[in-house]
Amino acid sequence: MLPNPYLPIFALGLLAFLFACVSVTLATLVGPKRYNRAKLDAYECGIDPTPQPIGGGHFTIKYYLTAMLFIVFDIEIVFLYPWAVSFEALGLFAVIEVILFIVTVLCVYAFVWRRGGLEWD
């Protein structure tokens, strides 16, 4: 018996993990081994690879901005889900509160939009 409904997830996860581990190691066991330095270079369509700066490549700040905006909206969603699920118990009072909350987040959204935070040059 597995009395806890959460435990079967780990059974599925374990099977998937074992399969993934076997797949990852399989090529080392059965694949051919023919050394060639060019094979180990980074692929850049045949030209010599661009040397990477220490600590990984650089990328535009826009990705950080997107990630931060995502967190703002994700938190909004986190607050909306419990309200939506227990809507019947909370009634009209909670509806008005949620509308106030959404309008507050929309103000932030409008601000970000006006300041060009949503533009991807």
Binding site: M1, I9, L40, A42, E44, L92, I99
Partner: protein, 452 residues
């Protein structure tokens, strides 16, 4: 249920009574279900890859793979075997540990999301009554969202650990794209929870006996259907793998089964988002309308047929889109996600919350109002979007008219004449054309041809 309710209030609400099905399976049944889900997923993915290649082939006036097995059905399986026997390559610039972990981190969550997908109602397996679903709990949809987000780590780490420029950019693009469209996706679920009153998948399917949520909250369904294509990095939103810009995207440096794992995860995710769409919006495993009049349609093993039929309709749409639409530009794609999908989702949540709250307060049923409002909002949004597209097209045409006079060096580099422009060769070219050498060359060639 009856023994519990009179004295102590049950911890499970009336909307979530299907949750009582779960947590009673013996260990052998859990193992059987786990292996079953694993095998079904592998088969569905192999079939989907074959279907995609065949259908896209037909759409492009080709045949597609038809040599390996009947109708080429074994093609994807054989491709998998071939990848298993390829040489293992670790790029010198790669961070080896993360490079190996990334594909595992990508494929394991893809499988785990299927733990809470309902395939069917309660059936009897070797005398044991059990639902056709591995498990379920009150936060099942939240769990799907959470576990799907872990898959993003696999992609971004693969891009970062490869130590190469294209994968890095592909991985970043992929993660930015997935988190951008995850907001629209998450917001589209709110309306469903509002009417279902639960996040458990089996209960949501149970709540759609009379009316599919896809009809009840039409805008949410359409927003989800759009967001799920962005979420799975599929055409026309396949920017992380834009071949002309980024080669293969985050898996450029991957070979052997490690590449196959990414491929597998991508296709499982495609099936997963389709299954979630079916479960939350299209009545899950319940039979569609004309078939549902037959009382046996929703009992026993039959529901699995309806479930997979619905899933493959979505998969066909995925393939169809890939065969039809050109790829978005990255700025267009981000603008669509942040400036169109998100505001519409929020607006729709406000509308549906007011409708539901007011009709509950006055003891009315919210259903007809919600359907009408959803329909009106959908038509209005589509009309506005269509009008904007048309305006932009007219504006582009007005800006990009072809000038009458042909300038051979406009923009600082030589260009050919556009349609409608007259090509006047420069003086030097004219001299070369009428020169004796060219004439002689042409004659001799034609003589050779005649002689041969």
């Amino acid at each position: 249920m009856n023994e519990l309710t009179p004295t102590t209030p049950s911890p499970i609400a009336a909307t979530e009574e299907t949750l009582l099905w779960f947590g009673h399976d013996p260990l052998w049944l859990v193992i059987l279900k786990v292996v079953g889900i694993f095998v079904i997923l592998v088969l569905v993915v192999l079939f989907t890859i074959w279907l995609e290649r065949r259908v896209v082939g037909r759409m492009q006036q080709r045949i597609g793979p038809n040599r390996t097995g009947p109708f080429g059905l074994l093609q994807s399986l054989m491709d998998g075997f071939k990848l298993a026997f390829k040489e293992e390559i670790f790029p010198t610039a790669a961070d080896k540990a993360v490079y190996i972990i990334a594909p595992i981190l990508s494929v394991v969550p893809a499988y785990m999301a299927w733990a809470v997908i309902p395939f069917g109602p309660e059936v009897s397996i070797f005398g044991q009554a059990t639902p056709l679903q591995l498990t379920d709990f009150p936060v099942a949809v939240l769990y799907i969202l959470a576990i799907a987000s872990i898959g993003i780590y696999g992609i971004v780490l693969a891009g970062w650990a490869s130590g190469s420029t294209y994968p890095l950019l592909g991985g970043l693009r992929s993660s930015a794209q997935m988190i951008s469209y995850e907001i629209a996706m998450g917001l589209s679920f709110v309306a469903v929870f509002l009417f279902a009153g639960t996040m458990s998948t089996s209960s949501i399917v149970n709540g759609q006996v009379d009316l599919w949520f896809g009809l009840l909250v039409l805008p949410s369904f359409l927003i989800y259907a759009t967001a799920m294509i962005g979420e799975t990095n599929r055409a026309p939103f396949d920017l992380p793998e834009a071949e002309s810009e980024l080669v293969g995207g985050f898996h450029t440096e991957y070979s052997t089964m490690k590449f196959a794992l990414f491929f597998l995860a991508e296709y499982i995710n495609m099936v997963t988002v389709s299954a979630v769409a079916v479960t939350l919006f299209l009545g899950g495993w319940r039979a569609p309308f004309p078939i549902s009049m037959w009382s046996g349609a929703n009992e026993g093993w039959f529901p699995m047929i309806w479930f997979f039929l619905k899933i493959f309709i979505f998969i066909f749409v995925f393939i169809w889109l890939r065969g039809t639409l050109p790829r978005f530009r990255y700025d267009q794609f981000m603008r669509f996600g942040w400036k169109v999908l998100i505001p519409i989702s929020v607006l729709w949540i406000l509308i549906i919350a007011i409708i539901r709250g007011v009709s509950d307060e006055y003891g009315l049923t919210a259903t007809p109002l919600a359907i009408t409002a959803g329909f009106i909002l959908t038509v209005a949004v589509l009309w506005i979007l269509g009008r904007n597209v048309k305006r932009r097209r007219v504006k582009n045409l007005a800006e990009n008219t072809i000038p009458e006079k042909f300038k051979p060096n406009s923009g600082g580099f030589p260009v050919p004449p556009l349609p409608g422009q007259e090509y006047r060769p420069a003086r030097r070219t004219v001299v070369a054309d009428v020169g004796a050498a060219t004439d002689a060359g042409t004659t001799s060639v034609s003589e050779e041809v005649r002689g041969g």
